[in-house]
Amino acid sequence: MNFYKNIVLPIHDWVDYRLPVFSYVRKNLVDYPTPKNLNYWWNFGALLGITLMTMIITGIFLAFNYTPHTELAFASVEHLMRDVNYGWLIRFMHSSGASMFFILVYIHMFRSLYFGSFKAPRELLWIIGVAIYLAMMATAFMGYVLPWGQMSYWGATVITSLFSAIPIVGDSLVTWIWGGFVIGDNTLMRFFVVHYLMPMIIVLLVFFHLWALHSHHSNNPLGVDMKTPADSIPFHPYYTIKDLLGLGVFLTFYLTFVFFAPDYFGHPDNYVEANPLVTPAHIVPEWYFLPFYAILRSIDDKLLGVIAMFSAVSILFVLPWLDRGRVRSAKFRPIYRQFFWLFVADCFLLGYIGAQSAVEPFVTIGRLAAAYYFAHFLIIIPLVAKFERPLEPPESISAGVLEAQLKSKTAEPAAQLQGAE
């Protein structure tokens, strides 16, 4: 008796006729047509999905052992670290995982900026992506509060107090967020609940992100649409294996921190239990917030600073309408390409400034860098889109790939000749 033909196939057909899960997987993960020229910068979406799952799973196991109470939270984490089998592994995977999540998302976003993946018809895909990023930031912030160390407590104090800058309702709003007149048990409990809730929202957003992605398919390094079947290859096996290879490299990187430098991304002060009476010498947010922290501090007025900080993120929502340039990929945009790298450098600079104390010359540099951040979006991008003369992108992906192959073939003998001389 043929097992596959007589048993597997009929069950498959029976289920698929009633609930087409198998056809769905085949359509979206196996046969799914993908541009044949994707480079390794296109690995990060898949890696982000895997990291999200890692965070959710380790998070569930952390929650088994965590107590959201100001008297018990810190000790419950130590109990997990010392007395629960592999508790340290779960916790370090989760804490380093948060930093990995942001490293990946920043690369993923810069990839999109460079290759114009946010442009029509992928505006909603981009906007949902920014929403995911915002949700990630909220989740990460609340998660950092839960171990109830000094930096947890004081970070929470600084960030929640920002809302008091809102005129009229500010103070009431802060009391409402805290669930009292100080940061205490109520605050910790709701942060725990919301921290656990947010990933569900992120998963939902990711679902829409992928839905939008699969409607118009991936962008690619050339930024031209797939036109003929010759432009695409099936997702499986080509990109499943490529994503797996990326996963291997990423896991090696990630787990090196988990096993050999688990506190690298953390702050020593968070191994001191929260104490409302002792303020740490430097209150610094986690590294992934530093650029925005620098923007917040670059304006003396509290309200304006808060507005600037939130604008710095929300300006990303309207990016598709700030950059009206027809050509997507920076490969064919000589001017935009240079400003792109300047922008990357500016983000790193802002991150550096965010970690410094508010003294000269950091204050002035921070102000200039913050001003440049906004100028990039509000002035440079629209102007470049209007006046730049992009190179002509190739007719199709196949044409572009062929051209590149020819070029590298003619270039190689020339290089060898030069070497011989």
Binding site: K36, N39, Y40, N43, A75, E78, M81, R82, W88, L89, F92, I103, Y106, I107, I233, P237, Y238, I241, K242, L244, L245, G246, G248, V249, L251, T252, F253, L255, T256, V258, F259, F260, P262, D263, Y264, F265, H267, P268, D269, Y271, V272, A281, H282, V284, W287, L290, F348, G351, Y352, G354, A355, Q356, S357
Partner: protein, 261 residues
């Protein structure tokens, strides 16, 4: 671009980001002007383990010196088994302390000798009592100290060895305070706890101040990261597996993509 170039590019991008982080990291403590001397620790590096002799001597220093003021609240007596004490020895150690238990059948709370499963008994009932006994200063819990300071082990070692009798000119030392080069602000309430021959070692190790400081630092680092040896052992296996797995995936990827060209 061939595959190797691409991988190299990817790796260098990741490295850049981490280096960027390192830069930012170094700025966290930029204002702590004192330079800590880097010590050669038995537990540093990916193969590093805690020196068993240092651990045992370090526990001796903790119990004979530090424990009169400093608690170790996240450790239980049973944990001492991990650093080479036998069950009988641990029972004996625990029995020297008393813990409150109860209520008994009459509803009374009572004191009983500590057991292996009990947490280390703190020298003071609470922070108020600790402050009252120490001129208002609060001797902090030491269970996590090695992780709670930047370059924790070097910091603890430096703090213990760098008390100086001569105060730099122009510096006023407040009443009841001591000059210490490493402590933030250079004034510390704790009197220099260790000097040569503070503790007599059973194993014949020469009892210098440096040796004392080194031993107790190793002990406290174990107290803060008791999982470290297991973590590194597992880590080496995991990373070795990942490297081989990734190499295999790379070969497989090459093979699958070769059909395209």
């Amino acid at each position: 671009m061939n595959l190797n170039t691409k991988i190299t590019l990817l790796c260098s991008a990741l490295t850049l980001i981490v280096l960027g982080g390192l830069q930012v990291k170094s700025a966290y403590g930029a204002e702590d002007s004192v330079k800590l001397e880097k010590q050669d620790w038995s537990f540093s590096g990916i193969f590093g383990t805690y020196d068993r002799g240092e651990l045992k001597r370090g526990y001796q220093i903790y119990s004979e010196v530090c424990s009169s003021c400093h608690s170790l609240e996240y450790l239980a007596y049973r944990n001492l088994e991990e650093i080479g004490f036998s069950e009988a020895e641990i029972k004996e150690i625990a029995a020297e302390y008393e813990v409150k238990d109860g209520p008994d059948d009459e509803g009374e709370m009572y004191m009983r000798p500590a057991r292996q499963s009990d947490k280390f008994v703190s020298p003071y009932a609470n922070e108020k009592e600790a402050r009252a006994s120490n001129n208002g200063a609060y001797p902090p819990d030491l269970s996590l100290m090695s992780k709670a300071r930047k370059n924790g082990p070097d910091y603890i070692y430096g703090l213990l060895t760098r008390y100086k009798d001569e105060v730099p000119e122009g510096m006023e030392i407040a009443d009841g305070m001591n000059y210490n080069e490493v402590y933030p602000g250079q004034q510390i309430a704790m009197v220099a706890p260790l000097e040569d021959e503070t503790v007599e070692y059973a194993d014949g190790t020469k009892a210098t101040l440096q040796q004392h400081a080194k031993d107790v630092t190793t002990f406290l680092t174990w107290a803060a990261s008791p999982e470290m040896e297991e973590r590194k052992r597992l880590g080496i296996k995991v990373i070795l597996f990942l490297v081989i797995w990734t190499a295999m995936l790379m070969a497989l990827k090459k093979k699958i993509w070769a059909k395209l060209h």
